[in-house]
Symmetry: C2
Subunit: 507 residues, 2 copies
């Protein structure tokens, strides 16, 4: 760690001591014998890399759609969100896809062709993809300092693991939202770290993280958490929080960032679907219009909540992104934005443990974004089409809830998300209810009715800590094949709740 | 660990204690309330997986070659290995590739289509690829017991890391070949393990591992390595060893396996290119014939050295394979074969840290092998074409050496490999030479002449231990674009050696 990074002391001891070396590196230049001059031409008999002539693939053609669900048009299912996004008159028999041809050798020196994409490549990521991530972040969430960098990951899960490997030593504390993406708790524990939950405000007009609770906890840490070391990081999903669906305003983020500065900890910003901003519920029409699309400028100016990066002036924020939700999970590809010193530490870890991300995925993604979508703004346009589709789906699902007897009878509240893939249904149990027992029973009720939902309490970092606030269910409009299935799912869920209330919370 | 696995006590404490859980798993069936019956139809509002209609790719066409370097035919470079493998009359303007079309939805229920391949998938690997790896190992290196299994990795490097995470605790010892794939030493050290080098026999007719040295070391461990715990594993690259190029006979493997049984340790078999068996040097003709190809049966019966798996009767062997050398490194895809209990342990680790391998890579590889090559035997046929090409390249490079003044003057010996991508040139320094200093100078000589080679000593696990045997260089015939470059590289290397000897080992 060089002195120019103020937070060097927060790097894990394990990470700071990691040594990498490769046998193929040459001797240090200082020992050069007199008379030595490196030949201008150089024939490699050293690297154990197969020539690309050995690769069995000569070229790959990727057929790219113009908008989500394009190929499903004309099928027999009712699907307003599909029809709405179609170009009129187009049907499934007459599709026009944009063909992106990736050759083994491209004449464009900046291209990520197969000779490079299928070869061993840079641990940090291919230069072409890193360039895109840099341009993309500059356009969307530009950090408030210069020395930031990016590294690819094998998806957000592996990206988050890079983060714990960079900053956590055994015994180090990470603050987490009390309901959270629980697999990350295993990453924390895997390196001996300790997750400590922070209360969330759970209501339809809240912003999630309870800033009063957090402030008080930090002010009185020694007293409230005796024996635990001071937190080294806060892990947050600030936009379309998983599982609640809540989004922190930029105002709240500023307050949280000020606490991070004051109490000397990192903010780990996990943002897998925050680009999918969503307007407040509107009664869905059977079709939505193409002109519902925002322009990129409108979107960036008025809709996208700025990342913690935009407030960050010294490298306190580590942002974890993924292409899983905006492109496809099977790519196993994402990236991290952080201070260049953190990225260096992560690169060393990757060099030893996971090596580089899939070149196949990097090559396909990079070429599709560049040649089918047209670069950063084209990619944002694709995101806006995703957003319009998700927005319609969210309203379809929420409409079944708002129209239900369960909602109208006051049995439930709903969190209408401003971004992402999740909404929450909060069960209004009478006070004094044994929430844990009743939630367990209600899960069976949902299975009995044939609808799968996630109990909020299953995503609690500490079930005891959160038991009073665990009376909610996460629902998602992401996997359903069409509007009809979404509607049916929402209606089944509501019927199950009504049944449960009418049987006085017994099965 | 269940009792049916005799080597459970060798699993690392860290691995044995790993807990995984996912919030979306249902309640345990034992708590089912009376009257509960799961609905037959089930609508998922729980999984946070985007519907495949959101994936921007509708289909991928992969254009697969019939033999290595197919597209280079007809270019202006002398390239016997290319021309030799061509179908006569074919040229680069008139290529016939086999097109493998991967659709979003396949009508074949066993197909790995994009809806599955680009979705979140099984941590162990997609069922389709796992089925292939199982059939492939059954055909090539069938273990001598039933309870074996496979898991995919993100290439051999990440596969080897899975191994250390499964079996090593801090202080645990791994025996390694004294010259080895040094990045693996970092994996060992990363989990607190201790590599201990085993002598190699370095001559053109040796088999690598010095079995007398190994036997003696194990018999007298406490005395020879006071303070070190007994070895938990031996790490070996038994076929076309990196860097030496040496191959252990099945007879030697049996002796090593007997030691593993007697002294209770795992054998970690790293085999990235052992399928590329090579005949002894034959003076290369300007072309080689297509009928030089072996049949699959001949190859399996007489050429492929059986893996340690074929001797293994209880799960002592952990075999690490990769598709990097036979398909392409950029896939970042390989697999591990081991006892099913070891595979379980690795799956838990992957679930937390690296998640699954790239679905993009799995989908392309699986479909190409199935639909362009025709399954296991078709894949072996592709390997035989790779083998024929490598064999020719090896002989081209070695021919420049055997024809050289350096060889004829006795300045060097050569290890002609029976498999893989590497040969070794051993420098016959007069006794009493300061080998370390002279090797360092000779590296500059090679750079001065314009040829890149790897000093064996750079790949020593312990430079002090190996300094007397470190007077060799690893060379490879893998990356060169054609025969002409290979020839030039070999000639330059020999000229540099002659120059060095004639200048009495001064620059």
């Amino acid at each position: 760690m060089t002195a120019d990074f103020e937070l060097s002391h927060l790097i894990s001891k394990r990470a700071a001591s990691r040594q990498t070396s490769h046998f193929s590196r040459g001797p240090p230049p200082k020992d050069t014998p007199p008379g030595f001059k490196a030949a201008e031409k150089f024939i490699p008999l050293h690297w154990g890399t197969p020539n690309e002539g050995f690769f069995p693939i000569e070229s790959i053609d990727v057929n790219v759609v113009d908008h989500p669900f394009q190929a499903s048009l004309g099928n027999s299912l009712t699907n307003a969100s599909l029809e709405a996004l179609s170009i009129s008159g187009q049907d499934s028999k007459n599709q026009n896809y944009t063909k992106v041809s990736i050759k083994k050798h491209s004449s464009d020196p900046d291209a990520l062709d197969l000779a490079h994409g299928l070869q061993y490549s840079e641990v940090k990521g291919t230069p072409e993809l890193l360039k895109f991530t840099r341009e993309f972040i500059t356009r969307t969430h530009k950090p408030n300092y210069e020395e930031w960098d990016t590294i690819t990951s094998n998806g957000a899960g592996e990206g988050l693991n890079k983060v714990v490997e960079a900053i956590l030593d055994p015994g180090d504390v990470v603050l987490v939202e009390e309901f959270t993406f629980t697999p990350f708790l295993q990453n924390i524990r895997n390196v001996g770290g300790v997750p400590v939950p922070i209360k969330l405000n759970l209501s339809h007009d809240s912003e999630g993280l309870d800033i009063e609770y957090l402030t008080d906890l930090l002010e009185n840490w020694e007293e409230l958490k005796p024996g635990l070391s001071k937190p080294k990081a806060l892990y947050t999903i600030p936009t379309g929080q998983n599982p609640t669906g809540l989004t922190q305003s930029i105002g709240l983020r500023r307050k949280v960032y000020a606490l991070a500065e004051k109490y000397d900890f990192f903010i780990i910003e996990d943002d897998p679907y925050g680009y999918l901003t969503l307007p407040s519920f509107q009664k869905p029409s059977s079709t939505i219009k193409l002109d519902n699309y925002l322009t990129v400028e409108e979107y960036l100016k008025d809709h996208l909540t700025p990342s913690y990066l935009t407030i960050d002036s010294k490298g306190s924020v580590i942002r974890v992104e993924t292409f899983s939700k905006l492109f496809a999970p099977g790519l196993r590809l994402g990236f991290i934005v952080a201070h260049e010193r953190i990225i260096e530490v992560m690169t060393k870890y990757s060099e030893i443990v996971v090596r580089s991300s899939s070149g196949t995925s990097q090559t396909i993604l990079t070429n599709v974004i560049k040649h089918a979508f047209g670069g950063v703004d084209g990619w944002l346009n694709w995101i806006l089409k995703m957003r319009a589709t998700y927005s319609h789906r969210k309203d379809i699902l929420l409409n079944t809830i708002y129209e239900s007897k369960a909602y109208k009878s006051g049995y439930i509240d709903v969190i209408d998300p401003h971004a992402g893939m999740f909404a929450s249904v909060i069960i209004n149990f009478p006070s004094g209810t044994d929430i844990e027992a009743k939630i367990k029973l209600l899960i069976f009720k949902f299975l009995h009715y044939g609808v799968g939902v996630v109990p909020g309490i299953n995503m609690a970092a500490d079930k005891e800590f959160s038991k009073e606030r665990g009376a909610f269910f996460r629902i998602t409009y992401a996997p359903a094949p069409n509007d009809q299935v979404l509607t049916e799912g929402g209606e089944l869920m509501m019927k199950a709740i009504v049944d449960f209330f009418e049987k006085d919370f017994e099965f």
